[in-house]
Assembly symmetry: C2
């Protein structure tokens, strides 16, 4: 009974919040926000982050005109919970975006709970146009699609682009049929708003089409003098890798490099559009990625560069990402920040910059980082938490990171507990090579307290293991 | 008898060459050359090469104003042969700069043979002033010192700065006496020209003093309108690590980061001096390092970033280096080059740019890369050879690298032969993770030919194992 009352109360709160918010209208001077989100891009995969053969002149220029982050984290080490964290400013453990299957699949029945408040919902309530171009991956049942989560326009794909009939997730040089059709799979759907407009779209042209859609979306809103939030979530460089003829075969790094180069071009087109429309000085753009490189894909996966490990790992390579913030006239050119920052910080930061109301009835894990962006502070947050599903594996406080659990990201082997935890100084030893647990029992003690405190969070009900009744879909 | 005639002939050739050359005078428009050479700096240790917590704003600005190389190699994986290769444009196997002891020590009796022609000798013959500020490490007996190898000014130390009484080469957190005095060692000498002016100079101030000396040298020659070659060879970030009070304790990366930050500052001072004197448009500056990071020094050693392994390894981390070329008005700003390039290329390139005569009586391993610098070509050289002493371990041709031998750089264990060799595509797989020998027998066959051809070189007599009679020195 108590539970029912809670749910009712929550329903009322959400309804009130949304209802109240929707009476707002756009106010002059509200900045536009663009989040460009890559898929499985590694920390070491851009030229400005040290890759020797992937040339990314547009992102490098964006960095030269803006701020390049060196300790910016994704909200999780895999796709679905990371995207949920970005859009809600909350950890997966709070939203329920975890489960035995750590991401959503075409036969999943779960999704981001509708009671969660996304950046889109928050900004829409403040009069913003809210568009998503690209990958969703937060629930593919009709009720979970972007149009029900605060977006008023969508062009894209509901999950990873290897989840259609074409394209296995296990590329290898010995597996030349990596892009052969999979039996019993659903064709990959391409949506416009609530409708599937194509099945198995030719992925060679996906980046070109997303770019065109993004530019149109920006132009339309600029024409109407309407502030906008554009969430441009590329399906690349996640496997299967496809580039358009203009880019295919051009990079020294092979098809992975071709795909990153086309994404780099796409970012350049977006920034050029803002400059051409003379709205660059009123638009905050951030580029980052959902999680680290998918190392099991061999050379079809990326590289975390100086960091250890990749996707699905709580070592740094799994969650620390390239991140470039750009806002001419507001963010200083050629800035490099090593402040601890997180995709979950975007929601509170956008709230601050737009005057939108922050959700007050729930705990947010993100923090307003506008003082970092504008060079007013060097530190805003001190803690980073590293989860695999609902399990807290590691905590970072300032430079110190303690791993209480690790698991091999490459295999199905069991997680390994560590007592005392492995201890690394991330500022001194970014590659997590030198365990100094023995030398620093004082730090261990402090981090153990932080770990226990965070462990006390009671997980929201798991969304990721809800599976559709057998339909032949897989 | 035949050997004696050869030596006589060689003597005559060298004498004639030098004699002829010394009649030249400086010609108007000859550019100045500055080589700034770091010691044990890793590929991943600069901000512009992806380090998260070492901030290097001056080197990053140098890169933004010039050309950043991503596949630039040292001539060897350890100090002495690398420096010999830089100054002569020749591999250690040709100059004899190899041996069981792979570098020179304070009790070494060998040095760079005087018949070798250094960049300094080549440019001096063309009327250049030739100065070296910093570390020599090409022979510490009087006859091998810089003043006998073409330099007309020296301020610095004859070998590594851990070779004095203070500072062991084996730093570890469990070895708090890493900088305790060593018994029986010779005090570290600081030279000006041919004279020792101090013993065990306070290394905290070494970078400050080198910087002051470099600036003075530049100013003096600018005042006299004399073209100059300045070889500024820092002793850092080789252990033991020392920074001046202005830098010590300031970097998030610890003392290693402090030392790199001070070196970065020093580079900034050099470039500022050139601009202040308005000779920047007539000065070619290149910054690079002698070999990869010394990984056994734990956090007192650097990082190769995305590359595998470090100093004393023929994996990429041992020999590929950050390299930034700068010449305002001649080298395009914001250029990034992934062309194969090498420290040995500097001698032929300087010859081309200064009009100096290239030594014609010997084989050079370097190639003129001015067309790369000026954006006229993308490729000049196709081959890189990886030696440990006189043993050829690996060859790279275009993107392909075959390891015929590897050895653990961390231990004294025996080298491991590989047949078939390990094969990596360096452009696609810069971390040398995916051996594709099985998939590409055609490439193996081609690289085996290159390997055999290069193996046919008859080594010059080894210089590195000549040891002084027992003197108590070690």
């Amino acid at each position: 009974m108590k539970a029912h009352i809670s749910i009712l109360l929550l329903f009322l709160i959400v309804t009130c919040y949304t209802g109240h918010a929707q009476t707002h209208h756009a106010q002059p001077g509200q900045p536009n926000f663009i989040v460009i989100f890559a898929d499985d891009l590694g920390y070491g995969d851009l030229s400005s982050y040290g890759h020797p053969t992937i040339l990314t002149p547009n992102l490098d220029k964006m960095a030269a005109e803006g701020m390049r982050f060196t300790q910016f984290y994704a909200g999780a080490a895999v796709c679905t919970p990371s995207r949920a964290a970005l859009l809600t400013g909350r950890l997966g453990i709070r939203t329920g975006m975890y489960g035995k299957r750590s991401v959503l699949f075409p036969n999943s029945a779960g999704g981001l709970p509708l009671k969660e408040i996304t950046i889109a919902e928050m900004l829409k309530a403040k009069g913003y146009a809210t568009g998503i171009i690209g990958k969703w991956h937060l629930g593919q049942l009709p009720e979970f699609l972007p149009m029900h989560q605060g977006f008023d326009y969508w062009f894209g794909i509901p999950y990873s682009s290897d989840m259609g009939k074409i394209g296995t997730t296990r590329y290898s040089p010995d597996n030349p049929n990596a892009t052969a059709p999979k039996p019993n799979a659903v064709p990959l759907p391409l949506y416009r708003n609530d409708k599937v407009i194509e099945e198995e779209p030719d992925q060679h042209y996906l980046t070109q089409r997303y770019t065109g859609e993004a530019i149109n979306y920006i132009k339309k809103n600029a024409d109407q003098h309407k502030p906008f939030f554009l969430y441009y979530a590329s399906n690349f460089p996640h496997v299967p890798l496809y580039a358009s003829p203009e880019f295919e075969g051009k990079s020294k790094r092979g098809i992975y490099g071709d795909v990153v180069a086309e994404l780099d071009w796409s970012v350049g087109q977006v920034l050029k559009t803002l400059k051409d429309l003379k709205i660059d000085k009123n638009t905050f753009v951030i580029f980052t990625s959902d999680n680290g490189p998918w190392l099991t894909q061999l050379d079809h996966g990326g590289s975390a560069g100086i960091l250890y490990e990749g996707k699905n790992s709580t070592y740094e390579g799994g969650m620390r990402e390239p991140a470039i913030a750009w806002w001419p006239g507001k963010i200083k050119a050629n800035a490099v920040s090593s402040a601890l920052t997180n995709t979950m910080d975007l929601l509170p930061t956008f709230a601050k910059l737009s005057g939108a109301d922050l959700p007050k009835d729930r705990i947010l894990d993100g923090m307003d980082i506008s003082d970092i962006l504008f060079g007013k502070k060097d530190i805003v947050r001190n803690m980073i938490y590293y989860y695999i599903n609902e399990s807290l594996y590691a905590v970072r406080k300032g430079p110190w990171k303690a791993h209480f659990t690790t698991h091999p990201s490459y295999s199905q082997e069991a997680p390994v507990p560590h007592d005392p935890p492995l201890l690394y100084n991330m500022d001194v030893d970014p590659s997590e090579k030198y365990n100094v647990a023995k030398q620093r029992p004082d730090i261990i003690e402090d981090l153990r307290k932080e770990y226990e405190k965070q462990k006390a969070i009671i997980p929201a009900p798991a969304q990721m293991d809800k599976i559709l009744p057998a339909t032949g879909i897989k």
